[in-house]
Symmetry: C2
């Protein structure tokens, strides 16, 4: 194990027998360099395995080619997909991406947002933990920021989110068609913009359905108790879970209570997960265009980083509803567009 140090531009210059300025020119294709010199420089770079130090480069040039993304939780498949796509988009555009997870903790989010600034990224994409993002964003943030998925209480950002209301409305109409007379809608908290929009959209389209909202909070055990108590008090025709946690929780609880889907209770979820097409019957769920959301977020950020000065923009992406056996009396499959 040779304890060699990482090569610097000086070592490359020395080895190629040229000045460091020439090496820099070859790397960045700036000034015209004679083919002979260019070849020698490239050879030296190869032999030494030289890679430009991004930090030093940025320090002098002032240009960053770096963006950062903060998500509430990397272990949530939706956010993971978001980050994965975003990373790809960024790299295609020649950018590096710093990925950070807040682990569902607003305090940790605040900490991360602060420490990210130490990297001097050129732009920032955030999926906030909750609506109070503005409280946690460093005061005089001098870089462009795009907020995705969840709408913060206070504006001033470009936004990308899915079309929560109409998608929820489509679910309501489907349940209506399927002959459901009552539906219990379950979400963690109406303080989350997504949950609020989804409930509003559902209620607006519910028509003859007797719709009831139950927010169970973020603490798993308490949430389960609340939901169980509600279901023991009287069973609705259908249950509609508005987010990741409540969907998992409700599905498990329903099974443990010995209720059969859809015979005893129809079941739908806003957050579509992989297993929902694997279980039997499959679970009706809203399919969110996560990849599109990442692409749109990157496009918006990129525009800002290139100096676009237009007023803040909000982009809403259309969802589709995957209808499966969990909400059908006679099991069969089809798909409808939302909105």
């Amino acid at each position: 194990m040779s304890r060699q140090q990482t090569p610097s531009i000086r070592m490359v210059a020395e080895r190629a027998g040229v000045s460091i300025a020439t090496v820099s020119n070859v790397i960045n294709g700036k000034a015209s360099v004679s083919p002979d010199f260019a070849l020698r420089v490239r050879a030296a770079i190869q032999e030494l395995g030289y890679v430009t130090d991004i930090a030093a480069s940025r320090l002098r040039s002032g240009k960053a080619a770096l963006a950062a993304v903060v998500v509430p939780d990397l272990t949530n498949p939706m956010f993971a997909a978001f980050v994965s796509t975003l990373e790809h988009e960024a790299r295609v555009g020649g950018f590096d991406l710093v990925v950070v997870s807040a682990r569902n903790d607003p305090d940790e989010e605040a900490d991360r947002l602060a420490s990210i600034r130490a990297w001097r990224p050129a732009g920032l994409i955030v999926i906030p933990c909750d609506g109070a993002l503005a409280t946690r964003l460093p005061a005089g943030l001098a870089i462009p920021a795009v907020v995705a998925d969840r709408i913060p209480d206070h504006g001033g950002f470009d936004l990308v989110a899915v079309d929560n209301g109409p998608a929820s409305g489509a679910v309501a109409r489907h349940l209506l068609e399927a002959g459901m007379a009552s539906c219990l809608v379950v979400g963690t908290s109406l303080s989350i913009s997504n949950v609020r929009e989804r409930w509003d959209g559902f209620a607006a389209a519910a028509g003859a359905i007797d719709a009831e909202m139950l927010d169970v909070g973020f603490e798993r055990r308490a949430a389960e108790n609340r939901l169980r108590a509600r279901l023991e008090r009287g069973r609705p025709d259908a249950l509609f879970a508005l987010d990741h946690m409540t969907a998992l929780l409700a599905y498990e609880l329903v099974a443990r209570m010995g209720l059969s889907i859809p015979a005893d209770l129809a079941f739908a979820s806003f957050d579509e997960m992989e297993w929902m097409r694997l279980v039997s019957p499959g679970i009706t769920a809203v399919r969110q265009p996560v990849e599109d959301m990442a692409v749109a977020a990157w496009a918006l950020l990129r525009g800002r980083m290139e100096g676009r000065e237009a007023p803040e923009e909000t982009r809403r992406l259309e969802c589709a509803v995957s209808i499966r056996g969990s909400t059908l009396r006679v099991p069969h499959r089809r798909t409808v567009r939302a909105g």
Copy 2:
């Protein structure tokens, strides 16, 4: 939106009426600074929202509180959990973590490994795409590296992985006890160390079970066709999927072929996913200690970064098998330790 620039240490110094050296000393707690000056500096930092530029800091001090992690695919829940834990460990230790996904593409992995060097991290943690990692690692990598989960063909790294063989053996013994006479073992490719070890461990403990290995490759459609062809040729008592992709694939295929679990075919998976306890019957699966793996990987890397010179170390973590209805004639639950 004021287009203010990010504050530098100079602005802080000016505002506090001291030299930049004093500001630096206050921040890093180096030389003794009078309480009065320290207070003024801290106030200025607050007011300006100053955050030290990590890059510039590292450039001068030569010390980088930065590590990087490369995983094959962030959308795989196991890798996402690995990264999430790792990030937490790193931050607790005062380190930043650069997270990078290779999106299951060895070329992309090579690209990422190269570009990561531009950040001059102090350490590297890799879950490689395949065994040929060494081919893709920059030649004279001057920083400590830890490889996790998958064992590369060529050594020279600290390693952390789960105890694949014994865990697979435990599954074999369980199937034996459950009265299975034959088992089809399905994996993507024996070129992956995990798959190899798991198959070997299974075969070694299979005893009276007629065990057969089928590697179906990484291309989804072709894999499905191969597995279907094999199952149509004759049905084993049990099917054991050795990795994430084949578990999903096999479970779906079995359902589409109209086979019922466990009546027609018992089903087990090495990769335990969330939905495996949600479906009915639950799926018997090996539970891998992902979080422990991340913690161990960080501990090893940290040691190296602090200068530990001991020979390369391999750490194997014990798994547990969650036994569920998918492998039982009479459904009931229990858990056994592997190894």
